[in-house]
């Protein structure tokens, strides 16, 4: 008990003695962990949206309307439908007429009237929209029906999704890289702060060494000093994310009904990771800083 009181007391003395440094350390840990947390949450968001979409992703089989290939006959169309429905991998088949395609288009781009006006209602092809039991089996459909008479093109909508995912991955990775760099910078700052603290108390530590204090007893106050600063930084960044992310996601959810959004639960879930990262980097930086400085 008395030991821990001593160790914590020494750590807080160190933190107070150099308030500016402590503030700088907490700030830099906060910035880096907020970025880290944001990228983790972005990744959560993407997973959430992907899960939701994958279930809805369809294969579009566009039908010939005579522009690039001979228009599909009603018999061919019925046959195609029957063949599709007979497939084991197919869960559902919908037919979308030219008119319906146009309506969906106008709906999708309702806020861009000039784009809608430039499109002739007749130009969008009719299609069979096929939902698969397993979206990964797109090739089965593509191979089998690509050459079917009256089929113009088969498009895997997953491709569209993949493009979106590639984009969000780039954003997320960029955030991760920046977060990692910031975290390293925070680590260097912590190491430097601890070195300064150890230097300021070198008299005390030299006495401790000569009266036979164990190594960890000499070092722990300094390590604790770093870890406490790291912990505070982590808590602040968690608080920042908690205060902003659910609100932003909520606002987006009102505007974009296309996909589900992350909420408080996800922000709470990343908390432990932020704490581990914050205290971990601080502990490692402190121990490294002390490695040569306080050797027996």
């Amino acid at each position: 008990m008395a030991r821990w009181r001593y160790l914590l007391q020494e750590a807080f003395i160190g933190l107070r003695r150099n308030l500016m440094m402590t503030f700088a350390v907490i700030l830099s840990v906060t910035v880096s962990l907020t970025l880290l947390g944001a990228s983790l949450l972005l990744s959560d968001q993407v997973d959430l949206a992907t899960d939701d979409w994958v279930g809805r992703v369809e294969v579009s089989i566009f039908l010939c309307d005579g522009r690039v290939c001979p228009a599909i006959t009603p018999e061919q169309q019925d046959e195609l439908r029957e063949e599709l429905e007979a497939q084991e991998v197919v869960a559902e088949v919908f037919y979308e007429s030219k008119q319906e395609a146009y309506e969906r288009f106008t709906e999708l781009f309702a806020d861009q009237p000039s784009l809608v006006e430039s499109i002739d209602p007749d130009i969008l092809p009719a299609s069979f929209r096929v939902r698969l039991e397993n979206p990964n089996l797109f090739n089965v459909i593509a191979d089998q029906f690509g050459a079917f008479p009256g089929v113009e093109e088969i498009v895997d909508q997953r491709e569209v999704l993949n493009q979106f995912l590639r984009f969000t991955n780039v954003v997320r990775n960029a955030a991760l890289v920046v977060a990692a760099i910031q975290l390293i910078a925070a680590g260097v700052l912590i190491a430097n702060t601890i070195r300064v603290a150890a230097f300021a108390r070198r008299e005390q530590t030299s006495i401790m060494r000569l009266v036979g204090a164990s190594n960890w007893y000499i070092r722990l106050p300094f390590v604790l000093e770093g870890v406490i600063a790291g912990l505070v930084g982590a808590l602040v960044s968690w608080g920042l994310l908690y205060a902003t992310v659910p609100r932003v996601a909520g606002n987006l959810a009102q505007d974009i009904e296309l996909m589900p959004f992350i909420g408080v639960a996800q922000v709470l879930a990343i908390g432990p990771w932020l704490l581990i990262a914050g205290t971990g980097i601080a502990a490692v930086a402190s121990v490294l800083a002390l490695r040569r400085f306080l050797d027996v």
Binding site: I207, L210, S214, Y217
Partner: protein, 232 residues
């Protein structure tokens, strides 16, 4: 209690330039002895003291302190060795923000002793050094001699078997020094082995104890009941 066997220690000073601090030194100090280590600056006194506390390791030879072979002593066991050794510095090295009592208690706290033992042992040792009245004073309120008494109390509070004193009277005037020597003598009589590195001719001459004289890293004299030097 202390045994050096063919101990050599050299310091590298950039490039191939080497300084020999101790050269093939062998000596033995028995339990309960009082030994002066004398010699001019750079004769190897400091190195000798640093080897005993294992702040440094010899390049060659063996050292035993309190039954431990320092060459083979694991780094994590060094603190155990140092708990057997009290160390008194020339410049006292008291912590300025702690009272006399806290400075002495500090040596016990940091080796994990409990409150009860500390509260029992610290007043005892403060009485031994004659500073019971000053236990709540801050170091800057004390004279040099009193500060050195605190330093001795801190070194001795854990009942070490060996007391190493590095020029303990170096910063004190002669009359104050005599007081410190009486104190060290009293501690020696309790059974502790005392090794004292010093320049102080008067003290060495008046105490008539064993004198080991170093010069350029070699023991040039080892005399029971000696004096500081022949012609000086």
């Amino acid at each position: 209690m202390i045994r050096l066997q063919n101990v050599t220690k050299t310091y590298k000073r950039g490039g191939d330039d080497e300084v020999v601090a101790l050269k093939d030194v062998s000596l033995e100090v028995n339990k309960g002895e009082f030994v002066f280590v004398v010699g001019p600056s750079g004769s190897g006194k400091s190195t000798f003291m640093k080897l005993l506390t294992r702040e440094q390791l010899p390049d060659d030879g063996n050292i035993w302190v309190a039954g431990k072979n320092l060459a083979s002593l694991r780094a994590w066991k060094v603190p155990v060795l140092r708990r057997e050794i009290g160390y008194v510095f020339q410049d006292f090295k008291l912590l300025p923000n702690k009272s006399v009592y806290e400075n002495v208690a500090f040596a016990l706290e940091v080796i994990g002793k409990g409150r009860r033992e500390i509260d029992k042992r610290v007043p005892e040792v403060l009485e031994l050094v004659g500073l019971t009245e000053k236990s709540r004073a801050q170091p800057h309120e004390l004279s040099g001699g009193q500060q050195q008494r605190v330093s001795v109390a801190r070194a001795f509070v854990n009942n070490p078997r060996i007391l190493l004193c590095d020029e303990p009277t170096g910063n004190l005037d002669p009359s104050t020094s005599i007081g410190i020597m009486k104190l060290l003598d009293r501690i020696n009589r309790t059974g502790a082995t005392v090794v004292m590195a010093t320049h102080d001719q008067h003290i060495v001459d008046s105490m008539r104890r064993r004198v080991i004289e170093l010069e350029n890293g070699i023991v040039v004299r080892d005399q029971t009941r000696g004096v500081y030097g022949y012609g000086n």
